[in-house]
């Protein structure tokens, strides 16, 4: 292990100059670019040079664009080393502080919202002209939709799951009556059906790209809509709106998921959704809204938006508020009495979002993530930018 030492003045290509900041303290050292070693060794080194052997750390680095990116595995560690030109600037944080209580119980080194760290640490000036994109881990995002049950459905059908999450963004679609042609033993037959009639621009349904106008709705949360009226289907969808699973027969059959053996599940889904399986989002939107003097409080806003109700069926846990004797109930505002966003916040993530490329038949495939917006204003921003940055 290298000792703490001054940086050599002659910059050779083989050495990477490292400047590590922890709190108010800086440490400088160098690493061999060709032999960076493993991440856990590097982590140990950092603890050692800062003399904080028992402190759990969040490691971030500034990349060539000046963005703060996490270092938490071998891949991004190697990436950081290879792109450092020539100085590698590291920012260390105590995990407890960074996690703001809610994430503490995670045993893995989970880097929470590096974007927010970047915002705090690197970008006090907000008025940047062209905000760059921050790419983060899929698990740092919340799923908003997915195609599911690809392995059991006919190829002409698509089962789409929309996650409402109690966010402000509307589901944003309309349904209508119509008729479709079915093949029956008697030949072709016209039968009444329910169709998607309109997508609200910027709504959840539109932004996923998984539903389109004139798609025929076949099932709602596993219940066939065959003999049900438009009003019944409407009520069923609204009743399931927090976790809506719609099986449609897309009007456009060209983007169907095609199952070729094992490995193409994810790719097929990607084709269907028109985007890659990886989730991405624009850091830009984040910057622009966090800018106006939000300062260090911003991360907590973001955390707050991870609603506990995002998990599938048992999510609609009703809110029970115990009221104490001293409360003067009759004077309280009704709305204030139901503080839906001051609940204990325990984010959970969809297990099926883990994109394991090695996993053969991927039943639950790609999804598009977006940062949960901290407020309505941000939400709108997000919508605007989603349109350009994440093209679906």
């Amino acid at each position: 292990m290298n000792k703490n030492h001054r940086v050599p003045s002659n910059r050779t290509l083989s050495a990477v100059e490292v400047k590590s900041k922890f709190g108010a303290e800086f440490r400088r050292f160098s690493l061999d670019r060709s032999k960076p070693g493993r991440f856990d060794e590097f982590y140990g080194l950092l603890q050692h040079v800062h003399r904080i052997p028992n402190v759990d750390l969040l490691v971030g680095y500034a990349d060539i664009h000046g963005d703060l990116l996490p270092i938490n595995n071998d891949d991004n560690y190697h990436k950081a080393i290879s792109t450092a030109a020539p100085l590698l600037r590291l920012f260390l944080q105590r995990k407890e502080e960074a996690d703001y209580s809610a994430f503490g119980n995670d045993t893995l080194t989970r880097k929470k919202t590096p974007a927010s760290l970047a915002a705090v640490l690197l970008r006090p000036d907000a008025n940047r002209k062209k905000p760059p994109i921050i790419i983060s881990l899929p698990k740092d995002f919340r799923p908003v939709s997915s195609i599911i049950d690809v392995d059991i459905l006919p190829e002409t059908h698509r089962r789409v799951r929309l996650y409402k999450h109690g966010q402000e963004k509307p589901l944003g679609f309309y349904i209508r009556d119509g008729s479709s042609v079915r093949v029956t033993p008697q030949g072709l037959e016209k039968v009444p059906g329910i169709f998607i009639s309109r997508l609200v621009p910027g709504g959840l349904a539109e932004s996923t790209g998984l539903l389109a106008v004139n798609d025929e709705v076949l099932e709602v949360n596993g219940i066939e809509v065959g003999c049900k009226s438009l009003d019944q289907v409407t009520d069923m969808m609204i009743a399931n709106s927090h976790n809506l699973i719609v099986t449609v027969k897309p009007a456009n059959q060209r983007n169907n998921v095609v199952r070729h053996g094992n490995s193409n599940g994810a790719a097929g889904a990607g084709a269907a959704s028109g985007s890659s399986g990886c989730s991405s989002d624009s850091g830009a939107s984040y910057y622009s809204y966090s800018a106006p003097g939000a300062g260090a409080t911003t991360p907590s806003h973001i955390i707050q938006n991870f609603r506990p109700e995002e998990e599938s069926d048992e999510d609609d846990e009703d809110l029970v508020i115990e009221t104490h004797r001293d409360a003067r109930p009759s004077r309280r505002m009704a709305a204030g009495a139901v503080p839906s966003n001051s609940m204990p916040l325990l984010p959970r993530y969809e297990p099926h979002l883990n994109l394991r490329p090695s996993n053969g038949a991927i039943a639950t495939s790609a999804s598009v993530g977006s940062l949960s917006p901290p407020s309505k204003v941000m939400d709108r921003r997000n919508l605007e930018e989603d349109g350009t940055v994440i093209t679906l």
Binding site: K164, P170, L171, G172, F173, Y174, I175, R176, D177, G178, S197, R198, N221, I223, V225, K228, S229, L230, D231, Q232, V233, T234, D235, M236, M237, I238, A239, N240, S241, H242, L244, E309, D315, D316, E317, D318, L319, V320, I321, E322, T323, R325, A327, P329, S330, R331, M333, A334, A335, A337, V338, S340
Partner: protein
């Protein structure tokens, strides 16, 4: 459990007055009456409890019904020109009505127009073997009965014309046949009246014109005088004529007398006249009012000697008949009663008592005398309350006679009722009517008016003073159908009655909550007033709706019965949406679209007021007339008008084609898929309230609680501190908010009920303290059942942790409209019963769930899903029956329980010379 449910929903009986009646008939031998309706139903009524119904296959208006006297057959004529023969049969425990066959007159060969063969009038001969029809074309046809086979003996104009004097003919036709009447003594002679005025006495045995009566006025109806020596004709000019019949003069030019009773100015037609012989002749006729001054009145005139009464009804006279002696032994008709079928009610006049008073009807109650706004059912009414209500009711109807009901045919076979049931209906005019719903016939018991405690501009006094004046015609207001409400704010919205203490809460449209005590003595007292501000200083809201009703100052005289004691008025005065009463705790809770309140009526003091408004909810503040809405509406209408006028400018065919095109292109109805949000409009409406003695604060101490549920899926639970009975006066009740539950799906909370440790609903107030019900299980933990429009959930108390749930809407796509906890008794054993949650959905079907497991048990189709008012009006009883309105005036009663069924069980004894199935040879006739 299954054996407690009826395998299918049984629609047992229709209570009330049939909607849109169109025909009336009476069988003097069987003493039963039949009413036909515009929807093609025939309803037969006899003695109370004797009623049965038949329905034509086609929904066409029944224009006439004629009994084949004493034989249980009747012939109906529909407006599609078909005739149907109905037969009264016996099916299990009840009589029923079956259509046997039908007939329609074939078009006359060579004449295209169908109106010629349109049947205008029917006559069933007293021998019941022949049906005579008169047609629009003036022909008279004969049908064999009961086979409805056309007999080739038809009589046409030309045959009559031969005997008509030349100068009367004028080349004109005689017009349609208006009336057919059989000679009272000679059954082979019939009187045929033609529209133009000619009346012919025709002997169809000899096919010969006996007499000609050359009337010159357009004919409306004919009636024989009992002796057969003369007949009376009524005319379109408002007059009637008496013609004498003598064999010596075959052609009579002039009537004996001719009167226009309401002349000399032009009068409306006398549509029907009856001439009954008593010591003095009794003339009854409908219509004939002076066109200009009273042309809009619906009147029936009774004339006898110098007595002249003009019965003034509030709805159109459909038909009428008298109940009188028909057998030949009696020399006189001596009518005992006049039965008048009006469009909205049935009125029966006692013709034998002086002053011709009305006889209260034991059935066909006009439920809608003022529009029904809500209903409330009480099962198993204690005898004491029942007697007091009945006696209060008897003191109200002094103007009516106690004569027996004249229509008394058939026999009611239903067993005597074991349990008294009350149905309370709230009306638009602020009245609450109490009905005996124990049996098949829904009988009025008592009527309560809440209008008397308010100052209302339009008092009734003026109409009384008018009546006192000497007036011609001598009008007498009869009937109780009165669709006009003095003030819409009086409308009753919610009712709650404590059957043990006789305390009643009536809550209305202007936020009034009236508490009443049942008293057997009349009383003159002041009412205590209180105002509860439900906005609770909430800023930024202004109420733009109606004002509250101004209460009368000073004392008010109240008749025996339910007497108002306390009036609580909510501010803002929005309609009360929920009310409940706990007489043992002296508490009444009420809710509006703004919040809810709790009132201690013993100390006359408000306990609690809570605003449930969401700050973004503008609609709630606008009052019932929303400006936002009306602006939208008017905009939409004006756009439509513009579009219409554009279309009319073009050529019609072109425009129509375009319209058709437009229709196909126009975007079809679409529905937005969006979860409910917190700031949906009217989210603060308090949908349900309930009191319960249960565990709210901790698992060891139970106590009084109050629960309120709102339109936005919020439930408030309050722990109440109710003093002991003896300290009611000193100590005040206190309410502390214990829990607030926000249902995540935010659907309106339809009902809340607390279940005891065994999962049974808590008993009603007083039931335990008076040993009327088993004490609830207070050992194991209680639970609360919250029913929203989308799902049912059972939460454990006091933690309010979800135990079971059923997501109805997510599964079925239907929404909950009404729920009730019902105790289903087993058919096998009377003692065994189980609780079920009964739920009526917006699709009109009924689901039953087990409680508290919430497992679906059974599903029934009940109401058509298009019948929104029917679904909204549904009430369930505690024993698995229910009522809903099938028209503004009729309740359909249904039963889910296999044990508790209230249905007609009756028998009508008929004597038929032959059965309808027997084919008789036509030689039976001897013309």
């Amino acid at each position: 459990m299954k054996h407690a449910f009826s395998p299918h929903l049984i629609q047992t009986v229709e209570h009330g007055f049939p909607s849109q009646p169109s025909a009336l008939a009476y069988d003097p031998k069987l003493q039963v009456m039949a009413i036909g309706t515009k929807s093609g139903a025939i309803k037969v009524y006899g003695a109370p409890g004797v009623e049965f119904t038949g329905l034509h296959k086609d929904t066409a208006t029944v224009t006439q019904i004629h009994f084949l006297q004493g034989q249980g057959w009747m012939v109906s004529l529909l407006d599609d020109n078909t005739m149907h023969l109905w037969e009264t049969g016996q099916k299990e425990r009840c009589s029923d009505l079956r259509e046997v066959r039908s007939f329609s007159l074939p078009g006359r060969s060579g004449i295209e127009s169908t109106s010629v063969t349109r049947v205008t009038v029917l006559l069933v001969k007293s021998s019941s073997d022949l049906l005579t029809l008169g047609t629009e074309g003036g022909g008279v046809h004969f049908l064999e009965l009961p086979s409805l086979r056309l007999v080739d003996k038809s009589l046409f104009h030309d045959e009559i014309m031969q005997s008509v004097p030349e100068d009367y003919r004028c080349g004109k036709s005689l017009g349609p046949v208006e009336a057919l009447q059989e000679h009272p003594l000679h059954a082979h002679k019939i009187l045929i009246g033609y529209s133009r005025g000619l009346v012919v006495l025709w002997d169809f045995k000899s096919r010969h014109v006996d007499n000609l009566f050359l009337g010159k006025q357009q004919l409306e109806s004919l009636v024989w005088v009992r002796s057969g020596s003369s007949f009376v004709s009524s005319h379109s000019d408002g007059g009637y004529m008496v013609w004498s019949v003598s064999s010596s003069t075959p052609c009579i030019q002039e009537p004996v007398t001719s009167t226009i009773p309401y002349g000399p100015f032009p009068c409306k037609a006398v549509t029907k006249i009856l001439w009954r012989t008593t010591q003095a002749a009794l003339v009854l006729f409908s219509g004939g009012m002076p066109r200009a001054s009273y042309g809009d009145r619906h009147c029936l005139t009774i004339l006898q000697d110098s007595v002249h009464v003009t019965l003034d009804f509030t709805s159109r006279v459909i038909d009428f008949f008298t109940v009188h002696h028909v057998d030949r032994d009696h020399e006189l008709d001596d009518p005992s009663a006049l039965v008048v079928l009006l469009e909205e009610e049935l009125v029966v006049i006692d013709l034998q008592a002086a002053g011709w008073p009305t006889i209260p009807a034991p059935y066909l109650a006009p439920l809608h005398s003022s529009a029904i706004t809500c209903s409330y059912h009480i099962s198993n009414v204690p005898t004491r309350l029942w007697e007091r209500v009945v006696s209060a009711g008897l003191q109200q109807c002094s103007a009516q006679t106690c004569t027996n009901w004249p229509i008394c045919g058939g026999k009611n076979l239903a067993p005597a009722v074991k349990q008294r049931e009350l149905l309370l209906t709230g009306h638009e005019d602020g009245t609450v009517r109490f009905w005996d719903a124990s049996g098949v016939a829904l009988q009025p018991l008592y009527k309560l008016s809440t209008a008397s405690i308010f100052q209302i501009d339009c008092e009734h006094n003026d109409s009384f003073t008018q009546a006192a004046e000497e007036e011609w015609p001598p009008f007498r207001k009869v009937g109780c159908f009165d669709p006009y409400s003095d003030d819409p704010r009086l409308g009753v919205q919610k009712i709650c009655l404590c059957k043990y203490s006789g305390k009643l809460v009536v809550a209305g449209t202007a936020g009034q909550v009236i508490l009443m005590y049942l008293s057997d003595e009349k009383s003159d007292h002041m009412i205590d007033l209180a105002t509860v501000d439900l906005l609770q200083d909430r800023e930024g809201f202004t109420w733009k709706g109606h004002d509250r009703l101004p209460p009368k100052s000073g004392s008010v005289l109240f008749a025996p019965g339910f007497q108002p004691v306390v009036l609580v008025q909510c501010m803002p005065p929005a309609a009360v949406t929920s009310v409940t009463l706990h007489a043992e705790w002296n508490l009444v809770a009420f809710g509006t679209s703004h919040g809810f309140g709790l009132f201690d009526y013993h100390r006359r003091s408000p306990v609690l007021a809570r605003c449930t408004l969401h700050p973004n909810d503008s609609l709630a503040m606008e009052g019932p007339l929303s400006r936002v809405k009306s602006l939208k509406k008017s905009l939409r209408q004006s756009f439509r008008r513009i579009r219409k006028s554009r279309v009319s400018g073009k050529k019609r065919g072109e425009a129509n084609a375009q319209l058709a095109e437009q229709d196909s292109e126009v975007t079809p109805v679409q529905r937005r898929i969006e979860p409910r949000s917190a700031d949906d409009s009217l989210s603060g409406v308090v949908r349900c309230l309930c009191f319960a003695d249960t565990f709210l604060r901790d698992g060891t101490h139970h106590g009084p609680t109050m629960w309120a549920g709102t339109n936005s899926g919020c439930v408030y639970a309050y722990a109440l501190d109710v003093p002991l009975q003896e300290k009611f006066s000193e100590q005040s009740v206190e309410a502390l908010l214990g829990k607030e539950i926000q249902l995540m799906h935010r659907a309106p909370v339809v009902s809340i009920a607390v279940l005891d440790g065994r999962g049974n609903p808590l008993p009603e107030p007083y039931e335990v303290s008076r040993d009327l019900a088993k004490a609830p299980d207070m050992q194991s933990s209680h639970s609360v059942l919250i029913a929203s429009e989308e799902q049912f959930k059972v939460f454990m108390l006091p933690k309010v942790s979800a135990k079971t749930k059923f997501k109805l809407t997510a599964h079925e796509g239907c929404r909950v409209r009404k729920v009730a906890l019902v105790s289903f008794s087993s058919v096998a054993s009377e003692d065994y019963s189980e609780n079920g949650l009964v739920c009526l959905t917006n699709l009109g079907d009924i689901h039953v769930f087990s409680v508290p497991a919430l497992r679906p048990q059974v599903r029934y189709d009940c109401i058509r899903k298009e019948d929104i008012s029917g679904i909204a009006s549904c009430v369930f009883t505690k024993t698995g029956q229910g009522f809903y309105l099938i028209s503004p005036s009729e309740f359909e009663r249904f039963s889910l329980s296999a044990r508790v069924i209230t249905e007609p069980q009756c028998q009508v004894y008929v004597e038929r010379p032959y059965e309808s199935s027997e084919v008789r040879c036509s030689a039976f006739f001897c013309f």
